[in-house]
Structure formats: structure tokens, C-alpha cells
Symmetry: C2
Subunit: 717 residues, 2 copies
């Protein structure tokens, strides 16, 4: 489990559109990303490796042909793209029947399962199967997107930025152009329209999506088997997980008829066979400058990991108090543990002298080439220094920015509800072009879908999270910091957390709707303590954001655009941008590897599951569910269960369909092994592997464990 | 469980004598401590509260008489003192039979249990009972101490420090005097002789101990019942834990006959009854200056907590891989979780504006009084500034000091074995008076007991811990720091950890003995990678320590001595020093409290245990052991099980006997409730409570669950 879901609940509330990275991530871990594939600097290796998270409008046809003799047609690509689904809760999926059936991972669906659960009905624990359409459960706030159209709008976006503009003016002009483009196209088409930043500012593409907001739960196995092995086995291999979940999209209260859906391969792929992965990798940082990578290594990642560890322990402490507490916290806890493990693996890569030496020599080679060409030097020569300078600003502002603008001081869903309401009232008074990105008109329906979600918010869990984050705030800036004083209002962190949460009425969605409808007047006269808290710090928080956007983000966009252009000029084009939680195509082969001298086979089998459980004393998280224990004898133990492949994936690819040359489903991505965590910074196919559930195991389990033949029969039909 | 054991395995190796605080603690959390009781500034409250961790040579006779009409005789005090036992692994205990039977907590004994265990014999899991003397298991490296004599040697120690000496010279002179005093007294008496620093430099006492090093395990319950409720219930109340363990001291291969041992109270203490606690509280910081408390709040504790959290997660990640991994890591993991919870509670106190406001007004009152008296002003007026200055140095040096001198960069037992060997060779070449404290002659037998311990060291666990701490080192000082480069030798943290651990032969005690016997020549020619690593950084590490000792520790000793004297001059004497893991007497009454409007009764009952388990689904850590489930019907459910009292305790008091006026055992301390964690900084009897196992429950469980009537009959006899 855990080509991770990317977006936590509060992040989702805070971000208006998902394709833009969630704010929390954008401040703590990005502040920039990248340009293109590492191997550009070593173009000879391109044909040796299965590297790449390719744009659908720039598929590496030549490489596929040379390496695998495979030439995808436009129709083949269109079909796969239109069968691919983005889960805006932070994952990938695909249509697998004409009746709008969507397959994804259990851990991608977990957010929806959690929101449909209560103390009396814990769907994560029990699993779920709707034998008939009427039993399908409508999700609370799930939005699925299908990418229908791509248009390169780089020129339009850049045209807004005039020569000689200050970074501040450039940023505003660019934002205005993007907000306007989105709004015009949304109005024209009726489609969700997002302008995507690629190559960290090198290109801007308009992505248009068919959007589904009536999504219903069809099937989920028990968490015990979906996340068998739990956190210990997460990012490990061999694995034995049935990490699947099925939803169905509805239109006009009926299952949607979809033209594009994937056929089903019963036998799956052979060892060494070519496979494709179509999904939404979340973020990579492969071609950050060395200075930028060092900043991630020495500043951002250590700090972010400390925060994740404290979240993990605070959540665990809360969860361990009772079974109901555990139920309430489990989805948050999984998200945090998953991020912690992923981030640790990434940091290990950055701390590996070999990885960094390679980064340094690659950068040196590129900079040398630029220096030697007078024209290139004049146009692009200052880019690296520009990045360096932006990082100095970032280092200086990041603590306060993270606490007060990014909201890490107030780890609470209600805080983000309050902030969305306060800002919405203020932003709505401005022309669309001048609004903060997440309040631009085109994204409003999706924003409201989240803001007015009926998903339960638990006061006790909120207090536990908030108390710990307020304590962190005091640790980081001291109790005498002016904003910390506003936030604490003379109380201790735990007393203040209790006061804020128990005093707020924002858990009631009707209250939110009323405040939203009332605009600035309603917000300004509200006595809700959370609204008052947001009001008291928002001016300062916005100022921090402006500094970030104008002195970090915009200069980095401009600098990376230069580096990108220099690289194109020197090394030629044909590459892929860093991951941005937008649809990409990856490819590779089913392939084992060696580790510590031992051969790791490409497949595990269903029979191995029972042995793995026994080797761990059949104790949680290695305890199998009753359903599996009961049907053990009926299962074919040699059925392939999980398998590995060399395709280039990362967090966000969770739930991506894995297809063969014929476009048939042979599996579904659900994890990467521990060696794959360095893929954030550089591709490798030596040991790094994508981990999938095998198509045959899905059929076997549905039929023999869950008596779900109707569902099994529907797959691919 | 968890009036915490204080000293982890590596800390024990690093520190020569235990009564001096372990090095790791002394650098991360202390760098000073305190002078005397908080309430001195409000002497009127003294008779209202059960405050105080009293020295046996300065018991508050008047307060006891006034408050409880109790006047302890010298004989009563001597008997209790001589029946009290210090576990140098970090806890307290008492003699409970004439045959050298010692009672302590299971979690104090856990270190010894762990060292006696293997994959085939997990004593923590199964528990243990020696029905006959021949079955008693000899512990690997346990040392128990009984305090036989106290002498105030303040004048002798201070006489070495001449007026006008620099801080560096003072520190050396003081160290010389202490080393010499210890050695002379040890030779004269044949007893372990430690000079103890009290009032953070206000007084020095010579403590002499009868020492037992042949200690054998008699009885331990299963960890499931000893630590029932696990980390979730740790520091909580109501509780249901049989946190006890029995050892026996031997002399000449026979059970030692002891003159002083405690009688046993079968019925225990009544609600409201006066009780006494005799044990070894580890550390308090009650009268630190405000600046010093702020330093702990803003710098030391947050950083230390981040380290504890990362240790916890690294250990948990290791432990969760397999049942055997869990067995190997469990004792370390408990220690870290216990410290994390305690430290979090303490930090919450420091972050409470009310607590700090009180500290500030108390300090202001004292400083005002000093300012108003010309003589006092001249003698003591600069003390607060002197502390402030020392803290500036501490802030500056602490990162490197912790990493390289305190060894947090190398979280590995083998590293500390190597460092002890390297330094021993160097220190042994010096006169005793000039040696580092932990290598002074008087402490040598205890040091060797630990250095040559046959306790297992697991390579896989060592690698996991070391890799994580090396990564932390890179995070903190960057990979280009000269010492970090020495430590890493061009490798990534995990590769370097693997190389160091798998390449070292120091797991073999014979190798250690040979290196120790070979002195400097053997050390300098050793090719053991761990020895080489220590050699490469030890010069720099020692320099850091010198700066700390001379510019932080010694100035603080001098300044706190002044503050202490000023307080005595203004407010009179009769107080207690902050805790220093030396024997103290506390008193209080058995008493419930109210929490969130609910009444918390002073007792729980054995019957409540089964209900508590059921309320948590009988799942780990709320699963009861088979032995208890089997005997449920035979147990009297109304037997009092755990109880709370107002006595003033803190970590290190674990295992302390709780006695009544007659000196009979009515219980054994094993925890403080969550509200007691602030006792590090200030006493309170509003909700803060010490938590004990009741004497009646011990009898009931021994007889009815464990068929251990022979042991039950021996208690108090």
C-alpha cells in the first residue's frame, strides 16, 4: 500500500483545485521542482532504461519502438487516457466496465470509506460489497476526473509577463492570465479547466476534465487484507496485499455509461513482458539544481520529517486510547506513516554521496556548456544563482510561512474550514484575475464540494491534533512571537485547543453554508472562535504568502524556465517534466531483482500470504481476516498475487492501471519497494520496482473469498 | 509503569558511576539543575503540601510533626534507608526479606530480563519464577547499591577552588578534589564511594554504598500484566498493572543475609493514611532560573523530543519486521516511549503560561530582595547573569556537543564500548585526580562490570539505530562538517552503519578485555572500525567537553551556589535539593482526585482489570496473559490493585517501596499520572499523583495466579 495518497483532509480543504499541488506540500516540500528527466544529460542511457513519466501529448514513441518494438497508435493512447481516472482525494484509478465501474486501491478509497463510517459501521474494518445497484453507497465528497483535452498555453501565459516587470508584477500578471484562461475555457466547454505548470515554469498546459461527483462505493475488502502487513510491510517487497477498491460513477442518479474502459487480462503479464502504467505521479524533484537539492536535504526534509514523526506519535497516542479512537484516527495515521516512510527513503537518497556526486557532475557539465556559449550564457547563465537567491529567501521565511500561512501551527480540519470561509469572503470581492489561485472562479464547484462536505469531524481528534501543533508552534517561534500570542490568547496549547474546538460550530455544514452565503459581513461579525482566530492572523499570513510567491516561487519559475531552455538548446528535446499529479504514461517490464545476494522473484502467490501471516504469529498487522481464513482451502495457492515491474512511478500513482500491449488490465499499482523511494530524485531500474496487485488475484479473491462473481464478471465488460 | 528507568544501555556504558547523571542526560537535558524546593519562596505553603524529595540527613521532622503528628526516630529512618536499594540500571527497590530478597518494578528489572533472554527464552514475555534457590538466574551486569553512610564534604571540595581561579582551573581543581576524596574513602572503607553534587553546586556529599553485583532473578510476571495497557496507559490512571519483579542478592554464592529489610503490610494503607516513599528520583529542575527554564522550554526539550520521536520510530520500524526483532528491541523501545511521554508532559508544563508566570514572580521577588541588600547584592547579585551567559555558550555548542561528545550521532552500544576502551587507555595514563570523572579510580569496578558485560548486542538492531542516528547527524551539521566526514568516511549513513557494525569484533567480550589490558598500544594499533572511528573524532569531542565543563557547567555551579546562598540568607534553610538519582524520602497520603468533573478513586481493584481489558477488545496491549485468564475465578475481584498518593516523586522512583508509619510495605511505586509530569518543574498535589501497586494485590497474584506461595510467605520475613 502506498504509492501514497497525496492529499490529507485539511490540505484538500485548503487547496481549491487538486492538480495544483496541495498548499501544505507546496510550501514544505516544493517551493520549486524541476525541468526534465535526469538522463537528458546522458542521452545514451535513455534506451537502456524504462525511465519516464511521460505526458500523453509527448509519448516517447521512438524509444518504445527501439526498445520494445511497440508503436502505440493515437487511438490506443486516447483509449488508455480516457479510461484513466484521477481521484482528487489523491490517487489514480481506471474505468473497468462500460457501466462506470472504477477500480482503484483500497488505500486510495480509504478516505471515502472513512467518511462513510461511524462507530456502528466501520467499513475499513469490515469491508463492503454492494450486491445490487441500490446497495451502492454514495460517497460524501469524492470527485473523479477524466482528462479529455490538453492544450499548450505557454505562450498565452507568458505573454502576460512583460519584459522588465518586477517579480511581484510578473507573479500577479501570470496568476491573472491563468485564472482568466481557466474561467474562459470552463465557461466555453462546461468542463473543469485547469492550467498546469510543467517543467516548473517551462511550460503551461490547459487540462480539461470530465468531472464526476456522484461516486458510489461498490466493493472494498477488509483493511486487514488490503493493507496486510501494515506499516511494517509498507514500501516493502515481497508483498501479499489485496489493495483494491471499486467505485461506480453516476450521472443523473444512474450508473454512467462510459465509452472508454479497460479490457481485463485474466492471466496477467509474463516475466519480462512490457507493461504500461497510466496514472498521476504526485511530485518528483529530479532536476532541481544541486543547491536546491541540498536545501531539500538539509532544511526541508529533516524539518518535514520531524513534523511527520510528531504527527504520527500524537495520532498514535490518541488512537491507542480506545478502539473507537483508533477507528477515527486510522486514515490520518496511515497517511502520516506512509509519508514518513516515503520521505525517509527520499532523504536517504539525498544523503547518499553517490547520488549527489552524480547530480553535481551533471550540473557542472550543463553549466560548463552554457558558460562556453556566449549567447546561452547571456540568456541563461544567471539561472543557478537566481535559484540560490530564492532559496535564501525561502530559508528565511519558511518557519513562519509553514506555521501561519500553510497552517501547520493549527493542525485541525476546522481551522482550514474557517480559513477557507474567511478568505473566500475576501477573495470573492475581487475580480477573478486577481484572486488567490484556489479561489479562482473556475475551481469554485470543486472547492465547495470539499468545503460543504458532510464528512464527520471528531472534536476529540481535532483537539489532540491541534494541541500538539500549537505546542510545535511554541517550540518553533517561542510563546512571545506576536502571531503565536494571537493564536494562543494567553492559554497553554492544550487549553487553547480545547477552547477553540469545543467553541466552534463549524462542524455543522449548515453553519458553513450560512457564513459562506453571508460574505464579508457574516464573517466579520462571526463570534466563532476559529473564525476569529483566522481573522486575527490572516493579514500577516497573506503577507508571508506574497513574499513566498514573489520572491521564491516566481523567481524560481523564471530561473527553471531558463535552465530548461538551456538544457533543450544543448541536449535536445524529447523528455518529460517532473511529476505534478497530472496524468502520465510510464512503461517497463515485469522483472525481479537481487537484494543482499538473494533473488527476489517477480511474483508472490496467494498461498504465500498464509505463510507470511504465520511467520509473524498471525498477529496484527499480519492477521488475516476471517473471510480469508474460512476460504483458504478453496483458493488456488499458486495464483500470482503481487508483482513488480520497472515502470517509473511515485506517490500519486496508487491505483494506476497496469496494462499490456493490448491495453488489457494485468494489474493495479499499489506501492513501490523501499529501493524505489529514491525515484523522487533519480530513476533507477537496478532494484527500484513498482508493486502491483495481479489481475488474476483480483478475480480469484472476488470469486472465492467474497462471493462477488457478479463484480468479477463485470470487469472489462 | 514508568516512573522511568533513567539510564539506557549505552548511557550506562558511557558513565562510570551511576549516581552522577548519565552523560547523555547531562548534556541534553541538564547542563545544570537547581537548588532547593519551590516553596521556599512561599514558606507558608510548606505545611499545606506533601512536597519534597528529602535527604535522609535533612528530613523535615518539624513539618511531619505538624502536619501528621509523626516523629520518625533515627532508628526508623536508618532502617528504611538501609532497606532501600538503588538499581544502577536506573531505578529503585527494597529488601523485603532477611534472605536478600529485593523487590522492584518489572520495568526496572526489564533490562536484566532482556539480557537474560534469547530467541528461545523470552523472559519478558513468559515471566519467570524460581521455585528453588538453584533455579534463580544470575543477572549479567546488574549492580545494586545500599546507602550506608553520608558525609558532607562541601568544604573539602570547595577548598580546592582558590579565589581568583579561572573557571577552567576551578573545574580541574574541583574534579581533582572529588576524584581524590572518592579514592581515599573507597580504599579506607572498601565501600563504593561517590561524591554527590547537591543544590547544583551548593553542597557536596560523600555517599558510601554497600554494593551487590551477584544479583539473581527470582520472579517476574509476564510483561502483558506487568505493563498491562502498554504505552497508551503509561502515565495514566486508573491503572491495573502488576509492575513487580523480585531479585535476590548473593554473597559468596549464597543468598545474602541482610539485617535491614521491610516488614509487609497485608492490608495496605487506608484512604487518607500517611505513607512514605524511599527511592531515587532522577532529576528535577524546580529552581532553575527563568532563563534556564526558557532554555529548556525553547531549545533543549523540543530538540530532545525530536530525537526521542525519531528513535521511537526507528525502533518501532525495526521491531515490527518480525517477532524476534520485537523481542530484541522491546526494552529500548519502552525506554524511549517512556521518556517521550514524560518529556512531553514536562514541556507542557513549561509551555503553560500560569506555571511560567509563577516562576517569574518568584524569581523577581528573590532578586528584588538581593538587590535591596548591599551585601547580598555584592556577593550574589551577578548570579542570574552568570547563568544567562553560560546558557549562551550552551546554545552555541550544544549541537556538536550532543552529536560527538555525548554520542548521539552514533546511537550504538558498540560505539560506546569502543569509546570507553579508547578513553580508558588514555585516562589510565594520568594521575587519578586528573582523570575524567567516569574514569576515576574509585568507580573502576563498576565501570568494568558494565564494559565487560556479556549482555547480547544484536548487529541488526545496532545497524538500524546507528543508521538513523548517522542520518540525524547529517541533518544537523550537514555532510561537509569535518567530524561528520570522519564519521561517514564517504559512505551513506546506512552503508556506513552496516560497515561499522559488521566490521567490529567488540561484541566479543574477550576482545574488549584484551584491548583494555593492552592499554594505549593495543588501542592505537587496533584495526576495529569502531575503535578507529572513535580515535578519529575523540580529540575534537574532548575539546567540546572541556568547553562545556569549563564554560557552562562550572560557571553554573558557582552561580547556582550563589543563588542558593542568597535564598538561604533571605528565606531561611530547611529545604531539599533537586533530584539527582540519590536516595530521598518523600511522604504524602493515599488520596483520589477529580478530573474533568469526575471523581478518580484512590484504588482500582483486580476485578477492574478484566473490565478494562474487555473495554479495549482484549487486544494488545490490553490483552491479559493466559495465566490471569485461567485463574480469573479464583481471584478476589475486590482486592485493591493500584492506588494513588500525593508523595513527591519523579522518574527514578520506579520500584520505590511505599511504607506506612510502622515502616511496613503497603505498596510499590511504579508510575505517576499524566498530571504528575509537571513535577519536574513544580510540585502540586491538586491532581498530580504517584501510582503504586498495592501490597495486597501482590500477595493475591503471587498466591492465586502464580502458585508462588513460598515467595509470598517470604515477604517481610
Amino acid at each position: 500500500m502506498s504509492v501514497h495518497r497525496l492529499i490529507s483532509q485539511y490540505q484538500r480543504l485548503a487547496a481549491a483545485h487538486c492538480p495544483r499541488m496541495p498548499r501544505a506540500l507546496s510550501v514544505t516540500s516544493c517551493c520549486v521542482s524541476t525541468l526534465c528527466g535526469l538522463l537528458l544529460l546522458l542521452p545514451a542511457r535513455m534506451t537502456d532504461a524504462d525511465e519516464g513519466m511521460w505526458l500523453y501529448n509527448a509519448v516517447p514513441r521512438e524509444a518504445l519502438k527501439q526498445r520494445y518494438g511497440f508503436e502505440p497508435t493515437d487511438a490506443w493512447l486516447d483509449h488508455l487516457r480516457l479510461s484513466s481516472v484521477r481521484f482528487n482525494s489523491g490517487g489514480s484509478g481506471s474505468f473497468v466496465s462500460s457501466n462506470g465501474l472504477v477500480m482503484t486501491n483500497h488505500h486510495v478509497g480509504a478516505d471515502a470509506l472513512q467518511k462513510l463510517s461511524s462507530e456502528q459501521r466501520d467499513l475499513l474494518k469490515t469491508g463492503f460489497f454492494a450486491r445490487t445497484a441500490v446497495e451502492e453507497l454514495k460517497c460524501v465528497d469524492l470527485e473523479l476526473n477524466v482528462l479529455t483535452r490538453i492544450e499548450n498555453v505557454t505562450e498565452q501565459v507568458n505573454a502576460a509577463v512583460k519584459p522588465g516587470m518586477s517579480a511581484g508584477d510578473s507573479q500577479k500578471a501570470r496568476r491573472g492570465a491563468i485564472n482568466t484562461l481557466e474561467q474562459e475555457n470552463a465557461q466555453k466547454s462546461g468542463l473543469r479547466s485547469d492550467v498546469i505548470t510543467l517543467y516548473q515554469g517551462g511550460q503551461y498546459h490547459l487540462y480539461q476534465f470530465k468531472k464526476y461527483t456522484d461516486v458510489r462505493l461498490v466493493f472494498a475488502p477488509e483493511k486487514e487484507i488490503a493493507f496486510f502487513g501494515g506499516d511494517p510491510d509498507n514500501f516493502e517487497y515481497p508483498r501479499f496485499d489485496l489493495d483494491i477498491c471499486f467505485f461506480r460513477v453516476y450521472e443523473n442518479d444512474k450508473p454512467a455509461k462510459v465509452e472508454h474502459f479497460l479490457a481485463w487480462s485474466k492471466n496477467g503479464a509474463d516475466d519480462g513482458e512490457l507493461i504500461f502504467v497510466s496514472g498521476h505521479p504526485g511530485r518528483t524533484n529530479r532536476l532541481n539544481t544541486v543547491a536546491h537539492l541540498e536545501y531539500l536535504r538539509d532544511v526541508v526534509n529533516p524539518d518535514h520529517l520531524n513534523m511527520l514523526r510528531r504527527h504520527e506519535i500524537a495520532l498514535k497516542t490518541f488512537a491507542d486510547r480506545s478502539l473507537e479512537n483508533m477507528r477515527r484516527a486510522q486514515d490520518d495515521l496511515f497517511g502520516v506513516q506512509n509519508s514518513r516512510k516515503a520521505r525517509l527513503g527520499g532523504l536517504a537518497g539525498l544523503q547518499d554521496p553517490e547520488v549527489m556526486a552524480k547530480k553535481k557532475s551533471d550540473e557542472l557539465a550543463l553549466r560548463d556548456a552554457v558558460e562556453k556559449d556566449a549567447k546561452l550564457k547571456e540568456k541563461y547563465g544567471d539561472a543557478w544563482e537566481q535559484i540560490q537567491k530564492s532559496l535564501q529567501v525561502a530559508t528565511k521565511i519558511r518557519t513562519e510561512l509553514n506555521l501561519f500561512e500553510n497552517g501547520s501551527a493549527c493542525h485541525s480540519d476546522l481551522f482550514f474550514v474557517a480559513r477557507t470561509l474567511v478568505r473566500m469572503a475576501e477573495e470573492d470581492a475581487k475580480p477573478n484575475a486577481e484572486r488567490l489561485r484556489e479561489f479562482a472562479q473556475a475551481g469554485r464547484p470543486s472547492l465547495e464540494q470539499r468545503l460543504f462536505s458532510e464528512a464527520p469531524i471528531y472534536a476529540d481528534l481535532e483537539m489532540a491534533k491541534l494541541a500538539d501543533s500549537l505546542s510545535m508552534m511554541v517550540e518553533k517561534v517561542g510563546p512571545d512571537h506576536p502571531l503565536a500570542k494571537e493564536v494562543l490568547a494567553g492559554k497553554s496549547p492544550s487549553n487553547r485547543a480545547a477552547e477553540l474546538i469545543s467553541g466552534s460550530t463549524l462542524t455543522d455544514v449548515a453553519v458553513r453554508r450560512k457564513l459562506a452565503a453571508g460574505g464579508a459581513a457574516a464573517i466579520n461579525s462571526s463570534t466563532d472562535p476559529m473564525i476569529k482566530l483566522v481573522r486575527s492572523i490572516d493579514r500577516s499570513a497573506r503577507e508571508m504568502r506574497t513574499v513566498f510567491e514573489q520572491q521564491v516561487e516566481e523567481p524560481q519559475r523564471q530561473a527553471y524556465a531558463k535552465i530548461n531552455a538551456a538544457r533543450f538548446a544543448i541536449l535536445g528535446s524529447s523528455t518529460y517534466p517532473d511529476a505534478t499529479f497530472t496524468l502520465r504514461l510510464a512503461f517497463g517490464t515485469v522483472k525481479g531483482y537481487t537484494e543482499g545476494g538473494r533473488t527476489v522473484l517477480p511474483w508472490t502467490t496467494i498461498g504465500g500470504t498464509f505463510e507470511h501471516a504465520a511467520a509473524h504469529g498471525n498477529k496484527e498487522p499480519f492477521a488475516l481476516p476471517e473471510s480469508w481464513l474460512k476460504r483458504k482451502d478453496q483458493l488456488n495457492p499458486t495464483t500470482p498475487y503481487n508483482f513488480v515491474a520497472t515502470a517509473d512511478i511515485i506517490g500519486g500513482n496508487s491505483g494506476s492501471p497496469v496494462v499490456n500491449r493490448k491495453g488489457e488490465v494485468v494489474g493495479i499499482i499499489f506501492d513501490g519497494n523501499i529501493q524505489s523511494l529514491v525515484l523522487d530524485y533519480a530513476y533507477s531500474d537496478q532494484q527500484a520496482r513498482a508493486v502491483s496487485v495481479h489481475s488474476a488475484a483480483i478475480q480469484e479473491a472476488l470469486r472465492k473469498v467474497y462471493d462477488a462473481s457478479s463484480l468479477a464478471n463485470e470487469l472489462g465488460k
